[in-house]
Symmetry: D3
């Protein structure tokens, strides 16, 4: 009997990231994909809980060879899709504990971790797990917002506007190598910027970025990061809502999709050791363009890991 | 100088419920509208945080006279819109406390309370506040799901699948006068139904309902409730997704919009003392048909209060 | 180290049907799920290629116990999700061959087959494979259209309007036990109905159905089918577009979601040996209500198989 | 050289109604289709200006033979599509004059007129033209609202809530043969109903309709209309928003698509001499289900004209 | 009893612009917000009647401090939201009169006026009211279209394509200080441009803009306007449909959101005395990105008024 | 009797391209518009079958005068809309034959051909027909993908990823004058680019384009093409999904709408003899922005033909 062929086209088959095998234990893999479908700490629109699934689906469009970085991550890297952390929507502390446990488990192997959010609060437990392994981390943070508030709700230290404040307090970030890029829009006051800078962020606002060239900005990033173990956190709202409408707190006047792609590609050679990509909210997307962009950004992340 | 005329058409002006005055203090009012934009405890889709705003907007379509109940609630009742409770997305206990405080404050006046959700977890603090004033409550609960789970997430007593279990445990509900109507769809096992029944619910499943006439079901409801102070909790997913797509856990095979209208109208004469209308999720609605239905149901609730 | 918990909520984790294991070889399973993401032969709107994925996703909402049939198919049956056939969009014959090979392979084991389409042309290779195993099949065909045209395009025997004509010609259907239910809407002429009837269909039009009771129709179905091995083919457009907008050729005036659920439940005890559920077109759906209905119908099919 | 074949499938070719020839002069035709893309007098949502185009597109789905009325209107009737009246959005009087001129011109031939709206204000000039030809008209008016207000805006006699008040005043309607069916929902007061009744309407509210059978209602319609020349005006909002979301003032609790189809079919044998189908608003539709329903209703209208 | 906290997050509470108090009488305020929900004079798509409500809702996302202009308008200015003018959809003259009366009333106080449309026809009565107070106005007009047609419909001097032609004729605009920026796309002929220029517009087409730098264009604007009292009229279609899909006559090849923000910021120091922001059409928006942009532009306008 | 005026506004009347007369025989015309509603060979999303209709509708927004090219194509050219080829969805060879016949017939007259797709596979029969008339063609190919695969499905030479491979093999393209612009995104490997280059394509990737100026790229195009008869094939996915979401295989990081407009305008003076515009997929569009862009690009094509 002839053998039927299964799967193939992007709309076909079970959707793991890049058709990587689905396995909870990442032992032996170079990179583990982990989804965190948690969005209960957003300050405007929820929906990022559907982010990991949507990004996985659109990842099937990624043919495999990166013509700019000139590498083939799906072939050169052993990839595994660990599925999603089992989150606890009404309890952020319990959720963060789950995330930290899952990340610890993955990082106890040789695998690097690429996490798909979920809202930005999830970066805190991820930074904890990575810092536990690597020490204080160099950080590249792409975002429209500093996310360094002390508190977004009365007596609530944890939410999607505070992760980096907490991370600095907990000593997870190397203050000499922390860059924020894309910051823009109204804030509560000038202190929202100065607080971030005082914590140790080199903040490149959108307006500063527009006054420079992309290569110039990349040069600064690379100089600052040097060979330090570098964690990359990308909030999709760093991109303009025209290119990424599917997000929780859209901020107009942002990056184009081309610019964010080039900025990530500019990290080639940097010692990147972990990534998260957060705030993709499919209920507010249209025709999946935000998820498609996110899948491509994840692909660029993976490409960076191919030496 | 001639006077310009302000507001008027349904798309015009500031949207309070039925153009009621917006006032935090309901003193002197017959009915207070309160929004609770909380949705962090949903088990599938969030978005009900936008429910109160959407229902207010569509309430402007309500011309004012109820031709079936033959009353004009906006003219016969002093109505006030208290706005929304300030919820705490990442902390359900803090949120419930806020709700309870707001409800207590309103119920300390002569105003009845009509609450617009939000996910179904909010019924628990609302029942607490009402039971504090009225004693154990007769309950009419329209829903596709019993919401009497003991726990939906490990170690989490509070979420949108557990409010009535907690309410029974806390003695807030009169076990001799609790009706659930519209229950249907798959459950974890037969015990999901028997547990609710054991707690004291008279469960009228969708299938039982379809085998009877509406007047017959109304007759049973009225007989059971008698003159007891009765709280009505309506989860919009009691209605079929064709009529109410904008909800968090859609369950096929449900009521039509006409049927739910008739069932509410059937409560005329019952001693209704409080209402909530929950799980309207505008991001999943289309053309506002779910919010329009919800606004009409709220209008029927108000009509019941006109003696 | 404490163990993190993975997956759980409906929005979390890798989406196989009902979280069944994904395995191409169904040996040892009671039921195999197979997706056929092919839609190149539709006469109006395409998009059914995304049907299998959407139905799988919404299947995660199915708690597990069927309260009407009173069985728990996910616990009582060994289920396996074989993923999707690798279709060939520009070539219907090559696609049908792939489908037939995949179905043959599954039917060579003890597993029953539940196929998720895809457009209705896929029923022909599925009927071939089933008839090869079981002989001429009793057929229950839910649809708005007879799909017994001789040809929809010049010189093209295969397309989504012709599968049952071909199946009768090839002797795959038992003419004494073929029911069509839900047929309605304009046709090319009266011969579209008489042709189907002449082939051997007992056609219950929508108008006839509305003049009878559901139990009466179920009685006729059961009498006709007797103990014959029965294949069920369900085109989602048998349901009204209000309840199932996500389909390729919507036909107004159709069944409600409750009615189709009851009709399937009415097959309990019939010797059903195979199922397909076709023409779910997610690009035309809203908020997944069509896919949710389809997932529930698949759940009813599985429940029928639990003795 | 072989001849290429043009047009064919529903998505192909230039969209006239039912592929009728596009000709401004209807001489020689049995029926003329006329679009009136005017929506400036709606009280809630606009968008009905796109109604005629959307209905034409979906009319291409109508295969041609009406299996219930058992006639083939596209073959039995000479049909012509006159295109759209050139309306004047900021001036309702100028628009109405255009409509009246266009209708007069068509009615000066032997063609019957089937008009696709547009908001309901357009019925007034259409009634004028028809009454000029036929004398006072028997009227069947399907709608959620009586549309017999005296005025919707200060000093504005013309708008989509007033056409039938004006028509009665102008003597265009035969008071002994005017039926309104489907009326429901809140109004300004009880006088909104009594005013309509006082004008001469036999008002069958939705609630009355639900208490009777369809054949019984059809019987009353036929008895009332007798052999009088009868104009049919159908506001799509007579149908529930689940079945017809694409409309300007959705009213919950309405008819199903099956019910409205049956009611129209019930007019078979009545001396229908003109039709309008109004308030289809494509921007608020989803997947065209409202336009598809409207196209089918227009098809039923045409079928009535085949003797 | 502890005090519950009301309102707060962007999705919570009654939506006035920036949570300004809702008061018809603006006495004592620095700026009055006025909505004009009129769209009956659009030449393509309606829907701008929902513009004011949508912009108010999205204004709740504006944290309060403008990091580029370095001012905090909500704190530095006394703001009042006057609600919406009561428009008359079928009668543009009556509507314009209402607008003019409302504007006059506001301008009779010390408040500046920021108007949210509505279609562009509303600028004419607004210019009348402002010119009555300030004399002929310097004008900055951001738009894809000149809007200086003599007439868009036969014998109709007023519509959304003619306001500036009328304004020039009525002497409301200072011909030495009128700039149009962003003009592009097909027109009826070359005279559409030359007519505008002949009236006195300095037209900076999109193509000219792309050949210059933003600072250079700002320099020209500032030089031209000098210290004249300047009115700013912004049609959202000056922005590309990718960034502002929710508008009535989308014109491809337009500004980015960043560019329009920078252009408005470039007016800092100019003697701006009034603003309108028109043609935001929410039914054609997705995920509110157009309304979010409009809210940010209004925020920039307000920031300009903080000295 | 006064004459009513028909048609006019963009939402009114029967939609042919630019209101050109609908005539199958283009004799006497300068340009023929032809739709090809075929999308069965797409590798991801279908829907392009609705492209021709949507582009025709949005073409009614094109006022008529091209202010950049300074010509009025609708007045200067005799235009005819030939409607759509009657395609055969399940059979690509039969479809291609239909296309080739239709194109041959048109090209046997003096009319130039502008074809609206449909998926990109349709370019092959179009190139055949044009090369039959003009000899090997210079080609400008705007696309995100080279479309020079040898085969996309086993044993299938024809599909939307292979047309230019086949065209080179068949000698339809002049290898000395073939430009591809906008290529980007992941591919199967580096050979996807080198294969195209080896076939004879001058490939200007998106990244190369971003490093140059538009005039510089235009200069290269003009130099390469010289006076050769030049065919232009434009896949709308050359534009970024922010500007053109409605397409089958969206590729992030693409051109803006302004850039593609300028590139087409840069072809002025080139000897363009045929055009196709493909892969516009309306089901994935929002508010028609992709179709509006496509209509404008078609308008620029037509403008090129006005000498």
């Amino acid at each position: 009997m002839a053998e039927p062929v299964f799967a193939g086209q992007p709309y076909a088959g079970i959707a793991t990231f890049g058709r990587a095998p689905h396995r909870i234990d990442p032992s032996g893999a170079d990179v583990a994909i982990l989804g965190v479908p948690y969005d209960s700490s957003t300050s405007y629109r929820a929906g990022a809980r559907f982010g990991p699934r949507a990004i996985r689906e659109q990842s099937l469009l990624l043919w495999g060879y990166n013509n700019v970085q000139q590498v083939a991550p799906f072939r050169s890297l052993e990839l595994v899709d660990c599925g999603d952390v089992d989150v606890v929507p009404p309890d952020i502390r319990a959720t963060h504990l789950q995330i930290e446990l899952a990340a610890d488990r993955i990082l106890s192997t040789d695998a690097k971790l690429l996490t798909l959010g979920g809202d930005h609060s999830i970066s805190l437990p991820l930074l904890r797990a990575h810092a536990r392994k690597y020490g204080p981390l160099a950080l590249v943070h792409f975002d429209a917002h500093p996310d360094t508030w002390d508190s977004e709700y009365p007596n609530q230290p944890y939410s999607h506007g505070t992760p980096f404040k907490r991370a600095f307090e907990e000593g997870l970030i190397d203050k000499s190598a922390c860059l924020q890029l894309g910051i823009r829009g109204p804030t509560n006051g000038p202190q929202d910027y100065t607080d971030a800078i005082d914590l140790g962020c080199r903040m490149i606002t959108l307006e500063e970025f527009r006054g420079r060239t992309i290569p110039d900005v990349i040069r600064e990033m690379r100089t600052t990061l040097g060979t330090r173990p570098t964690y990359v956190s990308l909030d999709i709202d760093v991109v303009d809502p025209a290119f990424a409408p599917g997000t929780g707190t859209p901020e107009v006047g942002g990056l184009t999709s081309y610019e964010i792609l080039q900025l990530i590609r500019g990290l080639r050679g940097v010692n990147t050791i972990g990534f998260d990509l957060v705030e993709v909210s499919p209920p507010y997307d249209h025709s999946g363009i935000t998820s498609i962009l996110a899948a491509n950004l994840a692909f660029e992340f993976l490409s960076l890991l191919v030496r």
